[in-house]
């Protein structure tokens, strides 16, 4: 299915948010996630089913002022 990850269209196989992170090689990375502008916690990722057109954000620690 096609979804948007960090603003880019991606064709993915993963059925859940947790599986998506594994598919993208970020299974162990320190990241936070949202789907369709709503926060999805780490503990919810395995149960969060992805749907066609979902907008996923995967964010990491970065420099800030």
């Amino acid at each position: 299915m096609k979804i948007i990850v960090n603003g880019e269209a991606l064709e993915i196989r993963a059925p859940t948010l947790a599986a998506l992170l594994e598919e993208l090689g970020k299974g162990d990375a320190k990241v936070a996630t949202s789907v369709n502008e709503a926060f999805v916690s780490k503990t919810q990722r395995a149960d969060h089913t992805l749907h066609e057109g979902d907008r996923v954000e995967i964010l990491a620690p970065r420099q800030g002022g």
């Binding site: 990375a29 320190k30 926060f39 954000e57 990491a60 970065r62 420099q63 800030g64 002022g65």
Partner: protein, 256 residues
Amino acid sequence: MPTFYSTEVTSRLMLGTAQYPSPAILADAFRRSGAGIATVSVRREAGGDQAGQDFWALIRDLGVAVLPNTAGCYSAREAVTTAQMARELFDTNWIKLEVIGHADTLQPDPFGLVDAAAKLTEDGFEVFPYCTEDLVLCERLVEVGCKVLMPWGAPIGTGLGLNNIYGLRSLRAHFPDIPLVVDAGLGLPSHAAQAMEMGYDAVLLNTAVAKAGNPVAMARAFALAVEAGALAAGADPMDARDMAAPSTPVFGKAIL
């Protein structure tokens, strides 16, 4: 030292982590400044890069408290979601709440700020609102649960210093028991000293150090200025006056 929520901080200098020439210079600047709190953000990682993971390892090694921000958010909804992501990522209830109202000045949107602060406080966050020196706005922020206020000195990244001395002084007088931090707009150590002399509890800056020709030396200069200003505030400064008053005794002067 001031207490932010229930945490007594180790320094009155809070330092941002962006725009340094290199990670090594960032780390040196922090060590020389003695800053006890580092502001950080949450952002996308490009492609398969590990920049965020490397950055996190660097910050962890500094051994400072982390204050995540919601920089770049233009709505309360966006800021709340960003704060939720930051809380999980950095494992802290602290959030430097930015709800920006105008792209040219990066000034806070006071309405969105109060809205987001209320929602986040309700959700257990300890909110450090980046606000203006507007007294009514600050009263609203306190009413919704903020126990720290962070008025700007001047727009972010300008280095103009304290643009509204009267407003900042009024705020200090009105909120004697709430920790006040001047956040944004400082360009020189003298600006930081001035804020401390006015009785502010701390200052938060980034660009003035990171974009200096020698960030490490500038970090140290800010640390000394903050210490000098805080010492002066505690020493009860003299009142300024319009007319001259001789310091050398008049009595005993020879008539020549």
